[in-house]
Symmetry: C2
Subunit: 446 residues, 2 copies
């Protein structure tokens, strides 16, 4: 129904600006950087995600014949300019933090250098792709941090903001450390393990709950997970025990039950007791329904007998922070650094790099934002990923990104791993960058 | 990059349930209804939106050869069942509230009657499509209500949750009464008027702000809107006045200026004064930046000199309520009404209708939820839109939906039109429906 990769998925002003640049023959090289201005109140760090989709977008960038035809007749643009658009490709360079990198405000996470029109026209979709996955991965990582050893799965598709949000949220959750997703397309497209067995409607379509359980178990013998809260959760748990005995003769076992409503803490413990007493100690208890990292922490801390969680709407929509205050800013054009001075929106000028240092135990200690030429000690976080419009490496494997997140979360200072607000991680600005900002007339920046 | 209309954009459990239904030969007719359980704290009403995309999805529903091939090798399903999926089409009936209808909790807005597998498999995408546009249209309508006579445009694409969210949010805002969108694809696909001229990067790429203004005006003579907050807003307003004099000899005029940062109230009034003093009384002032209905109301009430607003992120993401507590529930199967009794999630059983009555002035007075056969006085809100898998009318025109919203907002009781929380609109439940719920063992429902 939609062309997610249409280059017309952009703001009109990108095209009107390009017409201006084209008329003025402004073709020099420009550098733009994507960064987040400040953390949401409920985040201590962010995780970069979405680069893979961005690079695919840049490689495929072109206006189709159909799009050019429509632009010609929409009345906004000159015919010669449409001819220019028809030839436009992305031929620039991209430096980026690898997907899965922890980052902080005012650190560039993407740096694009290309002829002005190319670097400009990609802005809208670049932000659209990067901010969403970054936002969801950053939210999902908090669930991962509070639920070590638990199985976490993404159940958010139905209340995701459209198709692409559902698909890419599954990917962002997998990056952050979830074990899988209910999303079948995410399974097909990204190889993400799929989870899920039945909804209440399956139980309700049968005249009897116990009959529904048994029929389902016989239809899906390899993975029997039964939803037990449709009518009376504890009564259903007893039915599960009775069913297990009947199934044993067919060498079938019930691998888990799922709770989706009510007092998950109390119910999980009672259900666990019923299952254990019924000889089903290896039957796991899975829970879902309005969960997020706060509720996970509460349940786990209180001793809920829950082995895995289906986390949906609140993570997929990043409910407590459904957008990031991010910007893609012109930092340099025609060899000269550029600076915006709008109230409350001043940015650091010039092409930049970020260096990270660690303490001897491998814990992140400090980041320093520098001009590109101003080399510092530490690990440079921005790396070249595209040159002349071509990727410098094959598409990243999800497992590689997942491994990076695991390593990054381990290296996080302990206070940042908590759900509660921590003192800000130390991000300093190098002297050369400060001098440049002052020279360009920036008001005092922190 | 994504197949938004792939039927694999679903939860795995839909497929495992279908395999169960198929094995059990459960092919009888089922009725499911979509409804919202409760309003977000910051909404007094909701506006139904998304039906057009849902009907297109249902008409096109089929598993492609590529998808069937992948399902065969993913290891979750039986080969015969995949053959069954390959033949599956949606052949059912749909009743729905027309797009643009105001509705309230526990009122069905979509009712689907189809063979069980067909009514089940569409659940995930149905919710995904309906809840997003409904959520955004309902949020955007609040801006429309507080800003009568102002030009409102959607600027939300970049921070929308992916491609489809950006596209469909533009549509939802247009439905609610916005004049247009920055989204070019929304212009192409839905004929939504496009707005937008320049970003800060355009100004910054030039060495001089006044030069940037003049070049832009000469490049886009038909619609000169200048962004004046890149460096110093008031100084830029004076440059606009000076430029207008220079442009007059070329018969060019500056139609508007845009503010995107700072104290929009104070700046708009000072800019208005500068423009008026410079003879530019017909140059309009447009504002953007972190706006939502609360900020619009504040600015307008305080007397800001702003003619139009670009409303973006906060509306597109429905920032204060980024999801709706909605459900698509089995109400009837094989001729028997069905009832879920999960704690806190009890629903009204059976196939239902909603009747709305009005006072003599045409203001909405009360809704009553009934069993389908239990005809009441008033306007029935659910109407047949699809039969045997085919639409009963051509695709709806956006203008028709916009007209319905205008009419509906006029008919809203005054307290519901406010941003502050109003007493709930009266939605009662007819006696026959109450009796059925009691007979099925529902706990007391309000």
């Amino acid at each position: 129904m939609i062309h997610a990769d249409s280059v017309l998925l952009t703001d009109l002003y990108q095209l009107t600006m390009l017409q201006g640049y084209w008329q003025e023959d402004m073709r020099d090289s420009a550098t733009f950087e994507l960064f987040v201005r400040k953390l949401p109140r409920t985040r201590n760090f962010l995780i970069a995600a979405g680069l893979e989709q961005l690079l695919a977008f840049l490689e495929a960038f072109r206006f189709t014949d159909e799009e050019c035809l429509w632009l010609r007749q929409c009345g906004y643009f000159q015919a010669d300019f449409i001819d220019h658009l028809a030839r436009l490709r992305f031929t620039g360079a991209v430096w980026a933090m690898p997907e899965g990198t922890v980052f902080f405000p005012n650190e560039p996470i993407i740096r694009v250098t290309a002829p002005l029109a190319e670097a400009q026209i990609i802005e809208t979709r670049l932000i659209n792709l990067m901010q969403f996955q970054t936002m969801v991965a950053s939210k999902a990582a908090r669930s991962v941090l509070v639920a070590p050893g638990k199985l976490l799965t993404d159940f958010g598709l139905r209340r995701a903001h459209g198709a692409e949000a559902g698909l890419l949220a599954a990917r962002a959750c997998a990056i952050a450390g979830f074990s899988g997703s209910s999303n079948v397309l995410a399974g097909m497209r990204f190889g993400i393990p799929m989870y899920g067995t039945m909804a209440h409607s399956y139980i309700m379509a049968h005249d009897d709950e116990a009959e529904a359980f048994e029929r389902f178990a016989r239809a899906q013998p390899s993975n029997v997970v039964l939803l037990i809260d449709t009518y009376d959760t504890l009564a259903a748990a007893h039915k599960v025990v009775a069913l297990a005995a009947r199934l044993a003769s067919s060498h079938l076992r019930i691998s888990a039950v799922r709770l989706d409503s009510g007092d998950l803490l109390a119910l999980s413990r009672e259900v666990r007791r019923i299952l254990d007493a019924g000889g089903l100690a290896d039957c796991r208890v899975f829970a879902s329904g309005d969960l997020d990292e706060y509720e996970l922490e509460r349940l786990i801390h209180a001793g809920a007998a829950i082995d895995g969680f289906g986390v949906g709407t609140r993570v997929t929509t990043s409910e407590d922070a459904p957008y990031l205050n991010c910007a893609y800013k012109l930092e340099e054009y025609a060899g000269r650094p550029r600076l915006k001075r709008s109230a409350g929106k001043v940015t650091w000028p010039g092409c930049k790099q970020v260096y990270r240092s660690y303490d001897p135990q491998g814990t992140m200690r400090q980041d320093i934002v520098t001009l590109e030429a101003e080399v510092q000690a530490g690990e440079p976080l921005l790396r070249p990923v595209m040159q002349n419009g071509h990727r410098l490496a094959p598409p990243v494997r999800l497992a590689e990104v997942q491994a990076r997140v695991r390593q990054q979360l381990q290296a996080l200072p302990e206070p940042l791993r908590k759900l509660s607000a921590a003192a800000a991680y130390s991000v300093t600005v190098a002297d050369g960058l400060r001098r440049l900002a002052a020279k360009l007339g920036a008001p005092p920046l922190t």
